[in-house]
Symmetry: C2
Subunit: 201 residues, 2 copies
Amino acid sequence: MPRKPNYDRNALIDRARDLFWKQGWAGTSLKDLERTLGLNPGSFYAAFGSKNALFELALDRYAEGGVSRLNALVEEFGALGALQRYPSLVIDPSSASAKACMLAKTVLELKDQEEDLAACANAHLSNMETLFAALFREAQAAGQIAQSYDAETLARRYQSDLLGLRVTAERSDVSAEAIAQEIAESLVRLADKKPRQSATG
Amino acid sequence: MPRKPNYDRNALIDRARDLFWKQGWAGTSLKDLERTLGLNPGSFYAAFGSKNALFELALDRYAEGGVSRLNALVEEFGALGALQRYPSLVIDPSSASAKACMLAKTVLELKDQEEDLAACANAHLSNMETLFAALFREAQAAGQIAQSYDAETLARRYQSDLLGLRVTAERSDVSAEAIAQEIAESLVRLADKKPRQSATG
DNA sequence: CCCTTTCTTGAGCAATCATTCAAGTATATA
DNA sequence: TATATACTTGAATGATTGCTCAAGAAAGGG
């Protein structure tokens, strides 16, 4: 009997994700959202409940996108190939509304102010790290990376490099692409060499 | 004839720097500042002019501290020694009010909203990169790093790794220290090996 | 002690914040 | 076509934002 909303909720979440990604949590007012989504306050709150609820949906949507882009690379290029190409993909100027990782931005901005949202972003980052570790293990099983490395350690370092790359990309497109290449090349060097037991102080 | 302020302006800037560092620009209200600095609105505006003006002072102060800590390491351990120790120093839990770089946080938060402040942070980051490059050149002159590397490229990559490390440190103290060690060790490997001309797509 | 100069106080400003809600509008079923 | 059910509208809420300014308090020089 009722009436259907005259908007595509899914598309609205995408647009909200892009806006939050670019402007951050505090930097995005409800007026901004109303304008970008074409929604009046009443409709907005009927659809999403609150600004924070929509932000969490945007985080989930963002993380989803990252995972599926990574999986697409795996299908086409295999585990190691995906790990090598992901850095370049993620700072591709033509792709997204921002370079820096939205999850990292959220943790940095909201750690002290909105624990719940920061925790959500953190969980998504941990999940990505787990995916990376699985890919490193796969590359090891394929003999492309020496068994002597710990996949979890490699994944942590890889994610850290990725986060740095994406911060750098927010500052300068040119030097970022070179760094992305270096990250990819460094993975090749893990094939033969064995890691030392760290003893440096 | 006049009266002297009953506060230490320098100390206030330090405290403001710590607060802005932890909470960000939007996350720090004037009420927060008044409380932390022990200043009423009138005194605050007499002393600093505006919230943004104080934020810029805080950025300068922050950058100053980074430079002088790096220089102290250089005096004690030389160029390469400083580059190796700086990552660990910068995420030392006992040192600072936050792990992530305040300059990077500022760029990420304010790039689209407060161009002037973001540009200021950006300039400080570029300055640090220049310092890193000089240290890499010094290490090359001392025969500790192969001449075939480009010091500017090494500096850019080093800074990017550092930024990633500090974002990671904001999430987990334990894995960050391990990454800091890896960054230090990777510098040693630059001694003998020659870089390939990058040709990977 | 007086006077000038500066600093401190805190009430108050307009603007903006996220959010609510009552009234009006459209639509699918009967 | 009537009715029930949602959705849309937009004015209004109280809280908070960064900031101003007039009035009062303190302290140096004479």
